[in-house]
Amino acid sequence: MKALTANRLIDGEVVFWQAGQWVERFADAQLFADDDAAGPAAVDTAKTQPTVIVEPYLIDLTQGPAGLAPVSYRERIRALGPTNEPTHGKQAEGGAAIAALQAATGAARSTGRVDLIRRK
């Protein structure tokens, strides 16, 4: 799945596309199937709104442990707020939708190298 995101011009707020409107919550974002032409069409429409938003682009989503979330941790941080200040940004609202995004955050996936460090 995909969603369309941008930053709002006037304040820089992260926004998502929902049926012709820009909404602030990821949970309210319109979802596009990967092959849905409506996604790129929405990007084209967004590009005609240069006094409303900046840099519209589609992001990839994936099913996390508690719901749909952006694949990249960069996009999860955009959808939540900074991890060092949990009361700042969209995450401050809390609730199930935020929790689902946070659950998807997780730590970096372990790789073989993790075990190469000898623990004390």
Partner: protein, 551 residues
């Protein structure tokens, strides 16, 4: 301190008015984002992940309490109550709205502050020694020359569209607190054999993707010829620096490709042609110098009974003195460093309440002088020994008495992916994990000076190339990994760090640092610092410790 006259003040007002017009034009759709972006960047305004970020200049890291309170006011009124001090001695506000920025710049102009040239391919805010005017080590006050450069570089008509950004540092001491060799130009004030003032001119340092330390191209430039010589350097760079590839556009690449000798020759040739016409008149230099010498020090004995009594009675004060209080040139005074690296805090962040408290202390005890260090801490450069206990207690009450200057928990970290649109990985949580691991203050003091510097991407705002331990966040297949490097230094013994080995996942970085520290403690001879031991013993034992089971 330098105080703006009507000319400086009107200049700032004109600049703020110009930007207000540009914002109005952008919001009305009269100019495009592509046209607006370089304009807002030259006023320090970035669009980051969650909001706009405004980077406000702190010229050569020096400011007064009124200016500091203006930061607190901005944090409260237009941000979320805090600001972030940077490795350029500036402050960044993370939650700024574009529509508010004209009002913010007006407010700043009202206290002689601005965001001019804190971004863009121009000469950036000049950095200098945070102990200037307070340390006995300096041969001259580097702020005098920094102020000369602030004025000269402000909207320079020929050098505002350089191939890439351009950073200048000025130091006047054998002990380098500016990372001079990591700058596009490092200037070190010297006295010649006849006692005359001059500069050692280092050119072509920088971090980023391809780090270099600046070689010296002129061992002694007579002080009066500073501006004409800098014009020669900038002109050679403006004409011949690469513009086809932004990764190769910094002056360090030009200097490295020509060789320092040939680059210096070209500068010398241009300098002869420029002549003395561009140099600053002695009268203006004297005017600027005059504004820095009126420090009303009191005559005081070199020891203070009040200080000594507190030192004997309060272990936390004794620790604070060991780590955060430095020698002052004036008997009876001390330099007090304020750490912005409390356990669990975001390195370099200060709340509006903390900023107000520091402004109050500077006013009451610090001759109204505040400095920002490139290591993201604050300094009260002139505190009477009698007053240091009171300052310490006041700092304790606002969570600013952390006694860890230059210790392992005094970590430099850029905002990283928590805020920055350029970052590949977060830096703040990594710093916090390391701070947490070394929370034991006695152990941290036993480890001694150890500078950890963390960047969230290759641009190296967190100075990882010059960390005793450098940490670079990288994106590996969509996940945050961290590459460690060892042996860097931004001090007078400048060196670039070497990569330790393959990048590590986030949750293994603190473990790895622990291993490095244990290795150092095992190898340490006499009073060697981590850096000294690394230089003597080499990479092998450290690499072995972290990647022990890898082969």
């Amino acid at each position: 301190m330098y105080s703006y006259d009507i000319i400086d003040q009107e200049f700032l007002e004109d600049r703020a008015a110009e930007f207000r017009g540009q914002v109005v034009a952008r919001l009305a759709g009269d100019i495009t984002e592509d046209q607006f972006k370089p304009l807002r960047l030259m006023n320090g305004l970035y669009l980051q992940l969650h909001a706009y970020m405004l980077r406000v200049a702190v010229p050569y890291g020096s400011l007064n309490p009124t200016q500091f309170r203006a930061f607190a006011h901005i944090a409260r009124t237009w941000d979320k109550g805090y600001g972030h001090f940077t490795t350029r001695q500036n402050i960044q506000f993370n939650w700024i709205k574009l529509g508010d920025t004209p009002d913010i710049l007006d407010h700043l102009a009202g206290v002689q502050m601005h965001a001019i040239q804190t971004s863009g391919n121009c000469i950036r805010n000049v950095t200098s020694d945070p102990y200037a005017g307070a340390t006995a080590q300096e041969v001259d006050d580097p702020r005098v020359w920094s102020e000369v450069l602030r004025q000269w570089s402000t909207l320079h008509p020929e050098f505002s569209y350089l191939p890439r950004k351009f950073k200048i540092a000025v130091t006047a001491s054998e002990i380098d607190r500016t990372a001079a060799r990591a700058h596009d130009i490092g200037l070190k004030v010297l006295r010649g054999a006849d006692g005359a003032l001059g500069f050692e001119v280092m050119v072509g340092g920088g971090q980023g993707r391809t780090p270099y330390l600046a070689p010296t191209i002129k061992p002694f430039l007579p002080a009066a010829r500073l501006i004409s010589y800098l014009e020669a350097i900038l002109r050679v760079y403006n004409r011949h620096g690469r513009r086809d590839n932004s990764y190769k556009a910094r002056i360090k690449i030009l200097v490295a490709s020509l060789g320092a000798e040939e680059f210096g020759r070209q500068v010398e040739e241009e300098w002869l042609k420029i002549g003395e016409g561009r140099d600053l008149p002695d009268t203006e230099l004297a005017r600027i110098r005059g504004s820095f010498i009126r420090v009303p020090f009191e005559t005081a004995p070199p020891h203070s009974d009040i200080f000594d009594a507190e030192h004997a009675a309060d272990r936390s004060f004794a620790r604070f003195v060991r780590n955060n209080v430095k020698a002052h040139k004036q008997p009876g005074y001390a330099i007090v460093e304020i750490s912005l690296k409390a356990p669990g805090a975001t390195p370099g962040d200060a709340s509006a309440e903390q900023m107000d408290a520091v402004a109050d202390l500077a006013e009451r005890y610090g001759l109204s002088d505040i400095r920002v260090t490139h290591e993201q801490n604050l300094v009260l450069p002139h505190v009477k020994l009698d007053d240091v206990p009171a300052v310490h207690r006041a700092l304790q009450s606002v969570g600013l008495a952390t006694s860890n200057i230059s210790l392992i928990s005094d970590i430099i970290a850029c905002p990283g992916l928590d805020y920055c649109a350029l970052a590949n990985a977060r830096a703040i949580p990594v710093a916090q994990a390391i701070q947490d691991r070394f929370a034991d203050a006695d152990r941290a003091e036993d480890i001694g000076e150890l500078k950890i510097k963390i960047s969230g991407c290759i641009n190296a705002c967190g100075h990882h190339h010059i960390g005793h331990i450098g940490v670079l966040g990288v994106d590996k297949k969509g996940e945050e990994f961290y590459q460690l490097s060892l042996g860097g230094s931004g001090a007078e013994d400048a060196s670039l760090a070497s990569i330790l080995g393959p990048a590590l996942p986030a949750d293994k970085v603190a473990d790895a640092v622990d291993k490095l520290v244990e290795t150092y403690l095992g190898l340490r001879q006499a009073d060697e610092r981590f850096l000294d031991t690394f230089r003597r013993a080499g990479m092998a034992p450290f690499k072995e410790a972290v990647y022990a089971d890898a082969h």
